[in-house]
């Protein structure tokens, strides 16, 4: 019976991982930029949820409505004004740029919020859902469902809308996309905006589960990295599958080998996938 409980925990975790990774994967796939800043944006989303709740009494689910447009706009402007200038540079240079931005973000947050761990506590909690012996806190369950729903929305946006198709087209062949009249630089900014938006909203959801501190972004970044290589780079369904796979593996890993080895296990899994199927679980031709 413990198995089912662990599976349920893994699924909840996995849904949140999918949300974290979808934006990271999108930016990596379309822009060929490894966005080290992604983790700090998640933490910023957490702070937004924390302060909105502490000062204004706004539930994190509602802060998403503010976080989404805010982080989208910030990401758009950052890409348009700064990262676009280096977009043609080799991947290591853009990585250095986002690494530098991340250091600035981390230290800025240390200055503004101090290094204290803060915990967002929803009072009263929504209670628990008991399915036989399996117990899931409803707050967490809703956070996970919301995370999956937002990831699903991102998928729909990319596959069904005009602007989404343009993002995918730029990812596949930027010159051909330019011939279709797509402004590639604008699509880069839209993509980075979407990535920042997904990071910000997953941060607001994660704030309900994990304590927030300026340097925790690195952990989330590691998760995003594993999920996106696991599932297949640049595809939203890949991030979903990879996220849930990682959530389940980590939960069972913690049970069997102790929580201290869960992260090691997930990186081992990453190495195995890279050896066996380097395109990721859902890797598709044309997306490499």
């Amino acid at each position: 019976m413990l198995t089912f409980q662990i599976l349920a925990n893994g699924l909840v975790l996995g849904g949140l991982y999918a949300c974290i990774a979808s934006g990271f994967s999108l930016v990596w796939g379309v822009l060929n930029v490894i966005n080290i800043l992604h983790g700090s944006i998640i933490v910023l989303g957490g702070y937004l949820a924390f302060f909105a709740h502490a000062k204004l009494g706004i539930h994190p689910f509602l802060s998403i409505l503010v976080a989404a447009p805010l982080f989208y706009a910030a990401g758009y402007v950052l890409q348009r004004t700064l990262i676009n200038r280096m977009i043609a540079a080799p991947v290591l240079l853009t990585l250095s740029l986002t690494f530098g931005l991340d250091l600035m973000a981390q230290n800025g947050m240390l200055l503004a919020f101090t290094a204290d761990f803060r915990t967002l506590i929803i009072e009263p909690p929504l209670g628990v859902l008991a399915l036989g012996p399996v117990v899931i806190p409803i707050d967490r369950l809703l956070a996970m469902l919301l995370a999956l729903a937002l990831t699903g929305l991102l998928y729909l946006l990319l596959s069904r809308s005009r602007i989404g198709r343009a993002v995918v087209a730029v990812r596949m062949d930027r010159e051909a996309a330019a011939l279709m009249g797509v402004s590639v630089k604008r699509i880069y900014a839209v993509t980075f905006g979407l990535g920042a938006m997904m990071a910000g909203v997953s941060g607001t959801l994660l704030a309900m589960i994990y304590p927030i501190s300026p340097l925790t972004g690195t952990v989330y970044l590691g998760k995003a990295f594993v999920v996106c290589v696991l599932g297949g780079l640049g595809s939203v369904p890949g991030a979903m599958v990879g996220g849930i796979a990682l959530g389940i593996v980590e939960s069972f890993g913690a049970l069997w080998f102790g929580p201290e080895n869960a992260a090691t296990l997930s990186f081992l899994l990453l190495i195995v996938v890279l050896l066996v199927k380097p395109t990721g679980l859902l890797g598709r031709k044309g997306y490499e």
């Binding site: 087209a169 051909a176 330019a178 011939l179 279709m180 009249g181 044309g286």
Partner: protein, 236 residues
């Protein structure tokens, strides 16, 4: 309709075009022939804005377009079907065609009607509409690429390497479709390595050699030109 004058372009320090002059009349099918490395593809890339020219002028329907962004050139009415088709391979055929209509602002209804027109022009695309474009055969891909170019509702369609790697029957089918489009009022500029096919399709032809247009005239004249016959048509 299209007037290119003294166009110079190249890659970095390497000049490829050395003053190209070319004129396409409204309602014409023009072809551009020449050997490998003559600069045909470079000329098209400069024309569609992928490669900003170093100097010279490109006037289309009275508007100067040299150095403009691809977006503006497509908006002005010139669509470019690139060499090697360059379809979005993991996107469905239908989505590829819709990408062609990306800049259009005349509403989903008009775009849907043109989609139907494309399926009428190349019925195989209707059957394949939900398939990834990368799974199509070479001929089907070229049809999809031409249809994608047409979806922008251009007045001038520029095609690079129409027949390269395609079976003769497919080339005939494509040429028939292009003739029909031309009768409906579309102007065409086709780059073609197979000179015999090109001269049969087009009314006017331009011969490029080492970055210049060295000869031009009606297809009839060029077909009977001894130098052309010897260099490109294999006649002695």
């Amino acid at each position: 309709m299209l007037l290119i004058r003294n166009l110079h372009a190249g890659y970095g320090d390497v000049p490829v075009l050395w003053g190209v002059d070319l004129k396409v009349e409204h309602g014409d099918i023009a072809c551009l022939v020449g050997s490998n490395g003559a600069g045909k593809t470079t000329l098209l890339r400069a024309l569609s804005g992928l490669l900003p020219p170093n100097s010279g002028s490109i006037v289309f329907e009275g508007r100067e377009l040299a150095g403009a962004e691809p977006e503006r050139i497509l908006g002005a009415g010139i669509a470019h079907v690139p060499e090697g088709r360059r379809l979005f391979s993991a996107m469905s055929v239908r989505d590829n065609l819709l990408m062609g209509a990306y800049l259009r602002r005349d509403g989903a209804h008009a775009i849907g009607r043109d989609l139907e027109r494309m399926y009428g022009l190349f019925p195989i695309l209707r059957e394949r509409q939900a398939q990834d474009a990368g799974t199509l055969s070479g001929g089907e891909q070229q049809m999809c690429a031409v249809a994608r170019g047409l979806m922008s509702a251009p007045r001038l369609l520029v095609i690079d390497e129409l027949s390269l790697g395609l079976a003769p029957a497919v080339v005939d089918q494509l040429c028939d479709a292009l003739r029909r489009l031309n009768q409906e009022g579309l102007t065409l500029l086709v780059v073609e390595q197979d000179v015999a096919t090109a001269l049969e399709l087009a009314q006017h032809a331009f011969v490029m050699d080492t970055g210049r247009v060295t000869r031009s005239g009606s297809s009839e004249t060029l077909r009977n030109d001894p130098a052309i016959r010897e260099a490109y048509l294999g006649a002695i």
